[in-house]
Point group: C2
Chain length 472, copies 2
C-alpha cells in the first residue's frame, strides 16, 4: 500500500521533470538500482514507477541499455524520421506475427477464433439467399456496387440503430469489407503517423496491429473485467496527452467481455469531445448481449458527429461474406473517399445476399437464438475450466460476445500453454497478444463460439491438464 504511494509520487516527480524539460527527449534515465539507492526506495518501487511512465508513453525501455525519455508526441523530425520510417515498420509485440500462423490453420479445435460456429449461424438461409440473388439478379451481383454500399443495406443498418435509440442516417453509412476494414480506414482517415492513439488494455490484437502498421503511438486505458472502460482514467490520459483518436470497445470488449455502463459511456464521449479526440468505436459485439438487452453504442451520446461507430455482420450472420459498416458522422465524406480508393466497393454479391436474407427472415429471432447459445456456451466452458484447470486459475464472466479471458496462476506462462495446446491440435491464444507491450503473460483468451459437446469438453480438459503440467 505504502509502496503504491511511493511509486506514484516518484512517477509524478519524473513526469514533471519530463514535462518541464528538465529531463529531455532522448536522455537516459538513472538505472533502476541507482534510482533505488538515490531515492532510498526498493527496486520494486523503482520498477513500478518506470513501468507507469512507460505506460504513459513518456519513457521507453531500450534492450540492454536502460530507460530513456521519449520524444514528445508532436512532429517527428522530418529528415531523420524519413529514413527510419523507410523499412517496413517492425511490430512491437513480435508475438503478433505468430497469430497469422494460427489464423491460417483449419485443422485445430477452434477455441482461438472469435467467431460463432457455422451451426449457430443461419447458414442454410444465407445459402438460399445467395442462390436467389444469383438466379434473379446476377448481372447486378457481379457488377461494381457504388463505393458507399447498397442503399437497401444501409437503410437496414440505420433502422437497426434507430430501434435502439440511436439516430443514424443511411447517407452517413459506408459499407466495408468487415469491421476490420472500417476501423483501419477510420484510423487512416483521422490520424497520421506519429499521432497518439488511445486503446484499451487488454484489447483485440487486430486493433493493435492496425495501429502499429500505421505508425501510430499508443497509450492504454484499462478495460476492467466486469466494469469496462474506466472513464476517469481515460480523462486523465486525455488531459496529459494530445490524443488524436480513441479506439474503444465499450460493448463486450474482446478479450474481457465487459460492458461499460451508460454513465461511463456518456462521460467518455464528453471527455473525448472536450479534448478534440475522435472516438472510433468497435461495436462488433454490441448485438450479442447475454441478457438480451442491446447496449447503447457510444454514438448514442455523441452530439458533435465525432464518433465513428464500426460494426459488422461477421459475428451475427457470416464472417465469410465480409460485410461491415461505419457510421461516419461528420467524417462520412472522408471515410467514403478512403473506402473508394482502398477496396473501391464491397462485394455486391455479399451485400445483396445479406439484403435478401434480412428481407425474408426475422433477424432478431436468429440473434436471440445466437445470444442464448453463446451465453450457455460461456457458462459451460467456465464450469469446465473451474473443474479441470489448475487451482488459482481465474476466468472472466463475460456479459456478451464470445471471449473468455483466463488468468493463470503466476507460475504458468500463457505462451507455453498456447504452444502445448497447438501441439495437441487445440487452438487458443496467449494473453500477451492483447497488449501492445506484451503484458498478460499469464493470460489466455478462449472463444466460446463452438457449441458445447464432447470435442470441446475434451479440449478444455486437455488444456487444463497441460497447464497443470506446466505449473510443475
Amino acid at each position: 500500500m505504502a509502496s503504491d504511494l511511493l511509486y506514484e509520487r516518484l512517477a509524478e516527480r519524473l513526469r514533471h521533470q519530463i514535462q518541464r524539460g528538465t529531463l529531455r527527449a532522448g536522455e537516459r534515465l538513472p538505472s533502476l538500482r541507482r534510482l533505488g539507492r538515490d531515492q532510498r526506495i526498493s527496486l520494486a518501487t523503482a520498477v513500478e514507477a518506470y513501468l507507469q511512465l512507460e505506460r504513459e508513453g513518456l519513457i521507453e525501455a531500450r534492450p540492454r541499455s536502460g530507460y530513456y525519455v521519449r520524444a514528445p508526441a508532436a512532429p517527428m523530425p522530418r529528415a531523420s524520421a524519413r529514413h527510419r520510417a523507410r523499412a517496413p515498420q517492425p511490430i512491437r509485440n513480435p508475438a503478433l506475427l505468430g497469430v497469422l500462423d494460427v489464423l491460417g490453420r483449419c485443422d485445430l479445435i477452434s477455441l482461438h477464433a472469435a467467431t460463432p460456429a457455422p451451426s449457430l449461424l443461419p447458414t442454410a438461409a444465407l445459402a438460399a439467399a445467395a442462390s436467389r440473388v444469383m438466379r434473379r439478379n446476377a448481372q447486378a451481383a457481379l457488377s461494381y456496387a457504388i463505393p458507399q454500399g447498397l442503399a437497401a443495406l444501409r437503410e437496414r443498418i440505420a433502422q437497426r440503430y434507430v430501434q435502439c435509440g440511436v439516430d443514424v442516417d443511411p447517407d452517413e453509412i459506408v459499407i466495408t469489407a468487415g469491421a476490420m476494414e472500417a476501423i483501419s480506414l477510420a484510423l487512416r482517415t483521422v490520424a497520421r503517423a506519429g499521432d497518439v492513439v488511445l486503446v484499451e488494455t487488454p484489447t483485440y490484437y487486430g486493433l493493435l496491429q492496425a495501429v502499429s502498421e500505421q505508425g501510430l503511438r499508443v497509450i492504454e486505458v484499462p478495460n476492467r473485467p466486469g466494469l469496462g472502460i474506466d472513464p476517469d482514467r481515460l480523462s486523465e490520459l486525455l488531459e496529459r496527452h494530445a490524443v488524436r483518436a480513441a479506439v474503444l470497445v465499450p460493448n463486450f470488449n474482446n478479450p474481457v467481455g465487459s460492458l461499460t455502463s451508460d454513465e461511463a459511456k456518456r462521460a467518455i464521449v464528453a471527455a473525448c469531445a472536450a479534448h478534440g479526440t475522435v472516438v472510433i468505436e468497435d461495436d462488433l459485439y454490441g448485438e450479442l448481449s447475454y441478457s438480451g438487452e442491446r447496449p447503447s453504442p457510444l454514438r448514442r451520446y455523441d452530439e458533435r458527429g465525432g464518433v465513428i461507430t464500426c460494426g459488422s455482420y461477421s459475428k451475427m450472420l457470416t464472417p465469410g461474406l465480409r460485410v461491415g459498416w461505419m457510421l461516419g458522422g461528420r467524417w462520412a465524406p472522408a471515410l467514403l473517399r478512403a473506402k473508394c480508393f482502398s477496396t473501391v466497393a464491397t462485394s455486391t454479391l455479399s451485400q445483396l445476399t445479406i439484403v435478401e436474407y434480412l428481407a425474408r427472415h426475422d433477424f432478431e429471432r436468429g440473434l436471440r437464438r445466437l445470444r442464448r447459445e453463446l451465453a450457455v456456451n460461456a457458462q459451460r466452458y467456465r464450469e469446465a475450466i473451474a473443474l479441470h484447470w489448475p487451482q488459482g486459475t481465474c476466468v472472466s464472466a463475460p456479459a456478451g460476445g464470445m471471449a473468455l479471458w483466463i488468468e493463470l496462476p503466476p507460475q504458468i506462462e500463457g505462451q507455453a500453454v498456447f504452444e502445448a495446446a497447438m501441439a495437441r491440435g487445440i487452438g487458443i491464444l496467449p494473453g500477451h497478444l492483447f497488449s501492445n507491450r506484451g503484458d498478460y503473460g499469464h493470460h489466455l483468451r478462449l472463444s466460446c463460439g463452438q457449441p458445447w459437446g464432447e470435442p470441446v469438453e475434451t479440449a478444455l480438459r486437455t488444456v487444463g491438464a497441460l497447464a497443470g503440467d506446466l505449473a510443475g
Copy 2:
C-alpha cells in the same frame, strides 16, 4: 507571344514542383540545354523560364554550375504543420472528389467506367458457379477464409503466370479485394508518409488518390501513347530523387492504352533494382491485349523479388465479387500481414465462386472473346469520334484494355465537355483527373467496355456535338 506562353507554362510547372517539394531545396535543375531538349522548346524559352523563377526567388544561378532550387526563406513553422497534418488530408486535385459522384451513378450511359459490360463477361456461368458453391459448400463459403486466400485460387493464378513465362509460387500470392486493395496495401507496406513515389503521367486517378491519401509525394514519368513508359526518363528521375516505389502500368496503361516494350520493361526493372526502388506493378489489363498475345509483366524481369505485381479478375470475369491478388516476391510476408489487419480475408464465397468457374470453364476461351469484342469496340468508338467530333480531336489507338484517351482541340476544356455530357446522362471522365497536377485540361477518357450499338453511337455523337458547341 507564343514563346511568352511557353516559358510561362514551363515556369508555372517548375514553380509547382518546387512548392510541392517534388523539386527540393538545394536540388540542381536540369541544364538549359537539357531542358530545351526534354521539353522540345528553344534555348531562349528555357532561359526565360529560369530567369522568371530567379526573379521570384525560387531558384538561383551558381556560377559554372547551373541553377538550383533555393532554400525557403524561413523554416516551416512546426506547430502549425502539425495541426495541418491532423485534419483529414486535403486532396490535391480537387476534381478527384467529383469522381465519386460519377462512380455512384447508375443512370448514366456508361462511357466512364473502365469495366466491360456484363454482356461481355460470363455472367450466367458465374451465377451458376456461385449457386453450386452455396449448394455444396455453404458452410465453408460463409466462414472466414485464411487471410492469404484459398490455396486452390492461388494455384490457378500462379499457373496462369507460369504459362506466360513468369515463375510464380502460390505461396507468395496474397488474395485481395480487387487490384485496388493490392496496390493500396503494397504502397502502405513499402512506403511511409513523405516518401517519394514515381507514377506515370497520365495515370489512373485511383492510383493518384491512394498515393495522396498516404501522404506520399509524387514525381511523374510520361507514359506516351503508342510507346508506353520512357525508361530513360525514368532512370533520370531515379538518379535525381530518392524514389521509394514506382507504381507502373506497363501493359495497357489506363488511360492511354499503351504497351511498354519488353526491352523497356527490362531496363525499367534494372534501373529500379539499381536504385533500391520497389516496383508496384498494376497488371490489371495484362490479359486484355487486342493482338491476343499476353505481354509480360515487369515481374518477368525481376531477379531480386523487388517487384510486386497486382492483378484482378475485375476486368476479366467480374468486378462485383472483388477478387484480386498480389505476387509479393520478397515482400509477401509483410503484405500478408497488411492484408490480415486491413480486411482480414477476402470474401470466401467470392473466392470459391471463381475457383468453381475456373474448374468448369475454359478461361482462355472467354478471354479470347472478351479481347476480340473490346478490340472491335475500340475501333468503332474511334471511327465514330473521327466522324462526329470537332476537327482537331485526337484519339488514342490502344493496344489493349478498354480506355480511349482523347485530346480535344485546345479551345475546348475537358471539364466543360464532361459536365455537358453528364447533364445529358452520358458518363465520361475529364482528362485532368489523370494527373496529380491537373494537367490534361483538354483531354477526356472514355471506356469502350459497352458493346457497340445505337445507344453508344448516339451518346458518342451527342458528346461530339457538345464538344463542337463548346469550341464556339
